[in-house]
Point group: C2
Chain length 382, copies 2
């Protein structure tokens, strides 16, 4: 195939190593760790045009471009990152990493524990959004980026951008929070717990030691992904996509029908189970559940956000019922109360939570407009 002209093209993941011990929130210490990342565009001389992309639950560092000319699928945010796209690589130096604890190359449960010579597996320490942000800050030091022009993320990625704004207020000029929430609701936690139970109930999970056993909890991961898929879409969106179309069988005879939506979920679930690590899934959903930046400010979100110095774009989607506009509005209201600079938009579309990954026209218009302003600040003499 030929690479489209508006793509960043062929990209090569890079790997970086940190040999200083990292103390995590849970008290565990990682003596050293590695992060894998990609960059798109050029860092300007003043080092002021860098944009950090934070990934969501099942994301990774490969956000844009292709790994080879044979590559069939580009990065997960190819529609949004590239020359002339909303996150414009003609103007920004875009950095995208795989988080600590991930399963796409950064140190995580599949990595070898230097203390044992075997994979960490279930002994990989619990990692929180705060830990991720701390490790990303250290990564920024290594890249020589003092201040990010913007830190951008959807869902769990948006939570990282929010935590950045609180923990390192002087190290970012803009935070772009898409389809996120200041903390999970009981319903959100419940769905995560169902996914976790599906994984740990799988006979091939072996208390997390499936690598040692040479097996994989495929069915549990498949179920977990099915829960994700259904809840990240809207009822209307699924109706438009699948309706009650039959894949096989005859409903009039009341026997052995498979609906299209079932076959789709099976396919998505199976494919996910072959590419994602179960211990990482547990770890990432726990990071989601624990995220609650207001907690150490006496549950006062306004107090937490009073720490911030950057400008904010907060965007949500009408049909997103996992992280609905009302949850984004909690952030916006607290930012307003804290007298921070915030622009808030609610995008009307039927794609549910997954909309944050899709090239929805109005959403991309908002991102483009906002990021053009960010770029013009970078270009202007400071």
């Amino acid at each position: 195939m030929s690479i489209p002209e508006d793509s960043v093209g062929i990209v090569t993941p890079q790997r970086t190593r940190f040999d200083d011990p990292l103390v995590l929130q849970c008290g565990a210490v990682l003596p050293s760790h590695e992060l894998v990342y990609e960059t798109y565009g050029e860092l300007n001389e003043a080092r002021t045009n860098a944009v950090l992309i934070c990934h969501a639950l099942s994301g990774h560092h490969h956000a844009a471009g292709y790994h080879s000319v044979e590559d069939r699928k580009p990065g997960w945010w190819e529609t949004c990152i590239g020359p002339g796209k909303p996150i414009d690589t003609n103007r920004f130096y875009v950095v995208s990493l795989n988080n600590l604890g991930g399963c796409h190359g950064s140190t995580g449960p599949r990595s070898i524990d230097p203390n044992t010579g075997r994979p960490f597996g279930p002994t990989f320490p619990r990692v929180t959004v705060t830990d991720w942000v701390a490790s990303q800050a250290r990564f920024s030091d290594q890249l020589g980026i003092e201040v990010w022009a913007a830190i951008i993320g959807g869902s769990l990625g948006g939570m990282q951008a929010l935590q950045w704004a609180i923990d390192f207020p002087d190290r970012l000029r803009h935070a772009v929070l898409i389809a996120c929430a200041p903390k999970l609701s009981a319903q959100n936690i419940a769905f995560n717990e169902i996914a976790r139970q599906a994984i740990v109930s799988d006979r091939e999970f072996h208390d997390g030691n499936y690598l040692d056993e040479g097996v994989n909890p495929d069915r549990g991961l498949m179920l977990a992904r099915m829960v994700g898929h259904v809840t990240y879409q809207s009822d209307d969106g699924m109706r438009d996509k699948f309706g009650r179309e039959l894949k096989s069988g005859d409903i009039a005879l009341g026997r052995d029908v498979e609906f299209q939506v079932e076959s789709y979920l099976h396919h998505q679930g199976r494919s996910f189970s072959q590419s994602f690590d179960a211990n990482t899934y547990l770890l990432m959903t726990r990071a989601l559940d624990y995220f609650d930046p207001a907690r150490k400010f006496g549950d006062d979100l306004v107090a937490a956000l009073s720490e911030t110095r950057c400008n904010f774009l907060v965007t949500s989607f009408t049909s997103d019922w996992r992280f609905p506009p009302a949850r984004s509005q909690e952030i916006v209201n607290a930012l307003v109360a804290a007298r921070r600079n915030v622009i808030s938009t609610i995008i009307d579309c039927p794609h549910g939570h997954d909309a944050f990954l899709l090239p929805v026209q109005r959403y991309f218009d908002v991102l483009t407009t906002y990021l053009q302003r960010v770029a013009s600040e970078v270009d202007a003499p400071r």
Copy 2:
């Protein structure tokens, strides 16, 4: 304990046998079958005051009263059925049965297949809402009830009441449809499929032959129930009930937290897994998926409902996102288009789909008022 005065008191389940072959929609034939049921109140001389209760996914025949003075829990609709209650046993003769394919006494997957001398298990034939209604009609004949004063059900129970109105238009005077829909959405089917996958993925499921193996797919049933529990409640309702309260652990230290909502779901799931049959759960969710009375009328719900002769009460709940008011409204609109008598109410409450089982004041006021009218018709000379 002492039985409350407004209870129907001690009730004894009854069992009835049908020795005529029952041909099911899937083509399978049950040479004979049994149904277990309870009755509350007295049948009047004219046999015109009988009310049929149709149960939902995890329901059964024990809808009201106690099985003994030691019984800690009354029937599942104790708040609604009894002397002076919305379904007033001083005026109505109330009949509640366990559906064919159930696991509480009626012939189902746990029953012995006369052809093999072993439990049916996974070979129990597929049963549809149409089949249930046909078997209930035969049951009505046996009881000597030509016309039901009302047939009442919530969720899957409401779908049976709707199918009754279409298939046996002259055998009921009123249909009360609570929190139901004319057919499932893709999202509904998807949630059912997740529950089914959880069950069939359990190592103890053994392709449905768990009884032969002397085991039970507890974890799968637990997961299935957890999916049900979360989706039958609303986000707001769960927030009010659980918030982000911790059961154990310390979130500030980022380790080993269990939230209250998780512990609640585990408990509910475990208790369900010990009382419900996995093959019945698969069968009942399939009956839900397949329900689509408009299908044999060229997908024209108005045409389907033009078959009906009874009056309708259609009730839904604002926070019910599995069967939201808009789905009930589809039924109401089609009934209006078919020039049928219908009263429609939408109850504002935060309890989600589960509201149909709860004594919500306004909901019970509506039921009481409607059923008093039904009773007065019965009492009046015809």
